[in-house]
Symmetry: C2
Subunit: 243 residues, 2 copies
């Protein structure tokens, strides 16, 4: 019986400010790194209090869209558009070994799917980019005797980016962040990541061959080796995780 009657919009000052600001950014074609108008100017032009402007900007800052530098100004940190969608993700806990394994299970799910999607959707340019990152990684691996975590990460990022779905990259970035609370010296395992090395190339080969299921299978193998490394490391310290 009840037809869907959307609640009427009485006030939403700060939302309105953000909408106006998003429009302004598009109007002026501002990109990341560029400077936004002053809070005082925005307040004056939009006919709202400076405090309201600040609350609006605080929202964007919390979303990582904008960076405020005292004494300098407010700068765009990412591309903003009037029709973007936000899905705040907050991850609780996960500072211990169990948390590390938890992130790895997410990686297994997403990495496999992304590799498969990538095999279907990656364009020529993306494929070339992935191969470039792969070469860089292999070179770093040879040169620095196995310490190639940075290049390793960039390779995976390139795959996620080529999956055609930006959420993959963003979610995995969150996992990576959690990983990094540990990863500096992961569990004392010196050759951490060595075992996973060869699978990077096999994943790329399957993607280049447009073989989704093959790519998925290779990605799963890679994660399995990392998992093994982690478990091996856990056995090494057994007792050090008592909080």
């Amino acid at each position: 019986m009840t037809d869907f009657l959307p609640p009427i919009q009485t006030t939403a000052r700060d939302d309105a400010v953000l909408k106006a600001l998003a429009g302004f950014v598009r109007q002026e074609a501002l990109g990341p790194g560029e400077k936004l108008p002053t809070e005082r100017i925005l307040a004056e032009r939009l006919k709202v209090s400076r405090n309201t402007v600040r609350e609006a900007l605080t929202r964007w800052e919390g979303l990582g869209l904008v960076e405020r530098r005292q004494g300098s100004g407010t700068y765009l940190k990412a591309a903003v558009s009037p029709d973007m969608l936000h899905m705040p993700l907050t991850l609780a806990g996960g500072n211990d070994f169990a948390g590390l394994m938890a992130t790895l299970e997410i990686r297994r799910a997403l990495e496999a799917e992304a590799a498969a999607l990538c095999a279907i959707r990656a364009g020529k340019a993306e494929l070339a980019e992935i191969e470039r990152k792969l070469d860089l990684m292999e070179e770093a691996f040879q040169t620095r005797a196995g310490m190639s975590s940075e290049e390793d990460w960039e390779f995976h990022q390139a795959v996620f980016r080529a999956s055609g779905n930006p959420l993959f990259e963003q979610i995995i970035a969150a996992m990576y962040e959690m990983f990094h609370r540990f990863w500096e010296h992961p569990l004392g395992v010196r050759d951490f990541g060595h075992a996973s090395f060869p699978y990077h190339r096999t994943i790329f080969e399957r993607i280049a061959a447009r073989d989704p299921e093959g790519a998925r299978a290779e990605a799963l193998k890679l994660i399995a080796t990392v998992e093994d490394d982690l478990k091996r490391g856990a056995a090494n310290l057994k007792l050090s995780d008592r909080r």
Copy 2:
């Protein structure tokens, strides 16, 4: 040459407020739905301006952790802890339909993995809980002629929770928020979700039978039907998404 010198941390008033508030929540063991102290009280107790308190709360509100109701108070919307990690996901430029498809690809990856893990790890109690949610859903489906989105969601939540990895639920919860903008009248498809109905039970059966790969397969089928529904809906409106 340059040793890594991390930037020095001077002040961060509102961050400090949030830290204190998170500590307070843990101290008092507050859960979702419960009321936080007044802005005025927080300002007085923490010896900061009410304005600063507001900026801090605005951050949490933007992250979906808290809900403010004018004239009533500020209420917890999710569990908060002092060590949470925030990673706002932003989908740029995509209209709602594209966003929906993007979240669905994440769901496909995670739902399949979670179902498989669940088949391996779910205990007796978790299994019973899942079955209870399943029964509730099926009952609602019969009674309300297909409108069972709330119970549907609770079923999936129960599966995620039983996967033994809290990250699954946390990530999918972020996706779900976006889903909810549509779920009311998703794309004008009247019988949206009907097709996925039978797979809920088959998923449960595979889990109960401790058959990880079977559970994964059924979960994939479910997502496939949802995807079809969505595409069908998209065809229905084709022209209405020109902004």
